[in-house]
């Protein structure tokens, strides 16, 4: 499993583009927002938590179709499916690799981008915390969408249509956590809900993804 993780990470870093692309996309979203809503600091500070979460979500979406597509095309997905480790484990590793290459950089960069959007003091901590807690769920749910569409030629658009509604609860609790953190309100409820959603997603969704891959490999 570790070998698989190392392989996926190496592929993501070396095989051009995938690694930094999500981060660059995130930066572009953050840069474009002030052009859209105007440069006043007050407005930006108010919408910053939501924009940063949305940006992270979209950046995450961008690289989802690569999770299984390349392996499917060159046949290594068939090998992985017949390998001694269960396919659910493969899916989890794939999600972990996706998270390390897209989610983790987003978590690290979000505070810096927060400065651009005049995020307020307490927000930096809560933004980092909420993204660190929430983005694993995004990656795992992404594997489900990627698994459903892996056999399709032009699955990209369909993938976003399938995955984005699944992101709703994570987005709600993640952004709410930052908003409450900024306002100095009680944060335990959204924090626990966000952590709970992530834990349940990571534990259960790989089974659905693996089932979908088996159907597609049939």
């Amino acid at each position: 499993m570790i070998a698989l993780l190392a392989r996926d990470l190496a592929l993501a870093v070396r095989a051009g583009g995938g690694f930094g692309l999500g981060l660059a996309f995130f930066l572009i979203v953050v840069t474009l927002v002030p052009f859209g809503v105007g440069p006043e600091g007050g407005v930006l500070a108010r919408i910053a938590p939501g924009i940063l979460w949305l940006g992270a979500l979209l950046a995450c979406l961008l690289s989802l179709d690569r999770i299984f597509a390349l392996d499917y095309e060159d046949g290594s997905l068939d090998l992985l499916a017949t390998a001694p480790i269960p396919l659910e484990g493969v899916v989890t590793i794939k999600a972990a690799a996706h998270w390390i290459t897209t989610g983790l950089p987003l978590v690290a960069a979000a505070p810096v981008f927060g400065i651009l959007l005049h995020l307020e003091g307490a927000g930096f901590f809560w933004l980092t915390a909420s993204l660190a807690l929430g983005t694993p769920a995004l990656s795992v749910l992404g594997t489900f969408g990627a698994a459903l569409t892996v056999g399709l030629k032009r699955g990209g658009l369909l993938l976003s249509l399938l995955v984005l509604p699944l992101y709703v609860p994570t987005l709600i609790f993640g952004a709410e956590l930052v908003r409450r953190g900024v306002a100095g309100m009680e944060t335990t409820t959204p924090l626990l809900m966000l952590a709970g959603i992530t834990a349940a997603t990571v534990a259960l969704v790989p089974f659905a993804s693996a089932a979908a891959i088996r159907v597609n490999l049939r």
């Binding site: 489900f144 459903l148 569409t149 056999g151 399709l152 699955g155 369909l158 249509l161 399938l162 984005l164 509604p165 699944l166 709703v168 609860p169 709600i172 609790f173 709410e176 409820t189 959204p190 809900m193 959603i197 969704v205 659905a208 089932a211 979908a212 159907v215 597609n216 049939r218």
Partner: protein
């Protein structure tokens, strides 16, 4: 005699051919009856005026929007567990009907909301979760359309329906947490004191029955069409092989 006999496409076609005229006829009677009764023979509400009458479309459509998804969940499970093709086709047939029901509920709600709440749209939990439900329907239908192999499509949409159900319910409660509601609570229940008055209640029950029957008729027609399309495909394949 068990319910699974109807999983045989031939048996299903026979039974549904017999049942369809009855269901369609009853649909016409109850739907027209309920709506005409509701629209012309009930008093205006003392506060809402005649806008209250949209209830005869809005409430049944909203109920069906949710129940159709529940039905798709059940038929998807039957397909995934017992692999009866009719079941998968019924889920496929029901999805667009459910989507339209959701849309009707959203639009009639907006039309009612404009004079009553002073806004076409409000990010109220119920409204928002219906919008999300609509997105789930869209994704489900799009996935059916995107995959060529019918069995693969049935399997994948089945899995999507299961996962989607969990997340649709999760979203429903997450949305509750996110924003306070403007939408009134349930106006219909069997056990609570607070209900709509009887003058509105009876025609409403009739039009709900009408919507259920309408859904049933549409799903029967659409499932029959799907089965015929399958048979045609099989015949064409056989032709080409020969």
């Amino acid at each position: 005699m068990s319910i699974w006999e109807y999983a045989n496409p031939k048996k299903f076609m026979q039974t549904s051919a017999w049942a369809l005229p009855w269901v369609a006829g009853l649909t016409l009677v109850t739907l027209i009856g309920g709506l005409v009764w509701g629209f012309f023979f009930t008093p205006d509400d003392y506060k809402q005026g005649s806008t209250v009458k949209i209830i005869y479309i809005h409430v049944p459509a909203a109920m069906m929007a949710i129940n159709v998804w529940a039905m798709m969940l059940v038929t998807s499970l039957i397909w995934l567990i017992r692999r009866h093709h009719v079941s998968a086709l019924a889920a496929k047939a029901a999805a667009p009907v459910g989507m339209v029901m959701t849309l009707i509920a959203l639009i009639t709600g907006a039309i009612w909301g404009q004079p009553m709440w002073g806004t076409w749209w409000e990010w109220d939990p119920r409204l928002t979760s219906f919008l999300i439900l609509f997105l789930f329907y869209l994704g489900y239908i799009a996935l059916w359309g995107a995959i060529d192999n019918p069995d693969t499509a049935a399997d994948l949409t089945g899995v999507l329906c299961l996962v989607g159900s969990v997340f649709a319910i999760l979203s429903r409660y997450a949305v509750n947490f996110w924003n306070q509601g403007l939408h009134q609570g349930a106006s219909l229940s069997l056990d609570k004191e607070e209900n709509v008055a009887d003058v509105f209640w009876y025609p409403l029950v009739v039009s709900i029955t009408g919507f259920v029957l309408l859904f049933l008729a549409l799903v029967l027609i659409r499932t029959r069409t799907e089965i015929r399309a399958r048979r045609l495909q099989a015949l064409e394949t056989r032709e080409r092989m020969a």
